[in-house]
């Protein structure tokens, strides 16, 4: 099992992701610099970590979405490789048009940093299979622009196709329909604002995030 964590200038959860994946799955994790044009061979999971890539210049994730490594990430995702964007990584996936919608500034204009309860809206995806039988999980959010937005047609499609994967029980940022995480149509690209990488051991307050990494690699 092999995972790759993409490191953009300004990523700050890249090492958290590496440790979280290693400890929860035992997989080997390579760090891949944003300027690289290729991913390691036979990678089973790609993670775009949280942080403030390119200082959030222009728009969160906008610059990172155009960095050289993203062509390789897109190609791998199109081949079906499991790809997860966490927090800023979710913003990057939206900017790269690998996921629909966009993340706006939080409705209350505040940076939100706290544990949140999430409904597992769809436990049949390759990222959430391990949550089957469990309705709720706990992870941590830390974002200023985590307010998911998409037009009504897109929201209806996401709901109808089971692409809404996580929903906040108590919406912390004004996200449309309380959406915390979505998958693409093919089901192999996941974006979520809460951090599974900050919830992979009981000592961190929750070990629920470990299940996400385990599920993603179990299905590889």
């Amino acid at each position: 099992m092999k995972a790759a964590v993409i490191v953009f200038p300004g990523s700050n959860c890249d090492r958290d992701c590496k440790v979280a994946i290693e400890r929860s799955t035992g997989a080997h994790v390579d760090m891949v610099w944003h300027g690289d044009t290729a991913l390691p061979d036979k990678v089973d999971l790609i993670v775009l970590p949280g942080g403030f890539s390119y200082g959030d210049y222009l728009r969160c994730g906008a610059m990172a979405a155009l960095s050289p490594v993203m062509a390789a990430v897109k190609a791998a995702a199109e081949r079906g490789v499991a790809t997860v964007g966490i927090c800023n990584g979710f913003q990057v996936l939206c900017e790269a048009q690998m996921l629909p919608g966009a993340l706006l500034r939080n409705a209350q204009l505040k940076y939100v940093c706290k544990s949140v309860e999430l409904d597992v809206t769809n436990a049949k995806t390759r990222f959430t299979a391990g949550y089957a039988g469990r309705r709720q999980v706990v992870m941590t959010v830390g974002n200023g622009e985590g307010n998911f937005f998409a037009d009504d047609t897109t929201l209806e499609r996401l709901e109808g196709e089971g692409q809404v994967v996580f929903r906040y029980l108590d919406n912390p940022n004004g996200s449309a329909r309380g959406i915390a995480g979505i998958v693409n149509e093919a089901g192999n690209v996941l974006g979520l604002m809460p951090h599974p990488d900050r919830a992979f051991e009981a000592e961190l307050g929750s070990a629920d995030g470990a299940i996400l990494f385990q599920s993603a690699l179990a299905s590889a």
Binding site: A62, L104, R105, G174
Partner: protein
Amino acid sequence: MRATVHVYLKPGVLDVQGKAVQQALHGLGWADVSSVRVGRTIEFDLAASDVASAEAEVKAMCDKLLANTVIESYRVEVA
């Protein structure tokens, strides 16, 4: 040629910054201010033979990078 690009959140998208600025203006006594929108202006020089081709190029730049058309609209001026 000099290009000026104005980027704003689309009308249907809640502009929380605009709302906060509006509240602040109300607090300062300008009670009749309404519909505040906060946007972004990007200016740059570019070499182009005529205004029409410059506009076409700048619009392509907006669609690719300068604006996120899921949430934002833009207006281009070339002079």
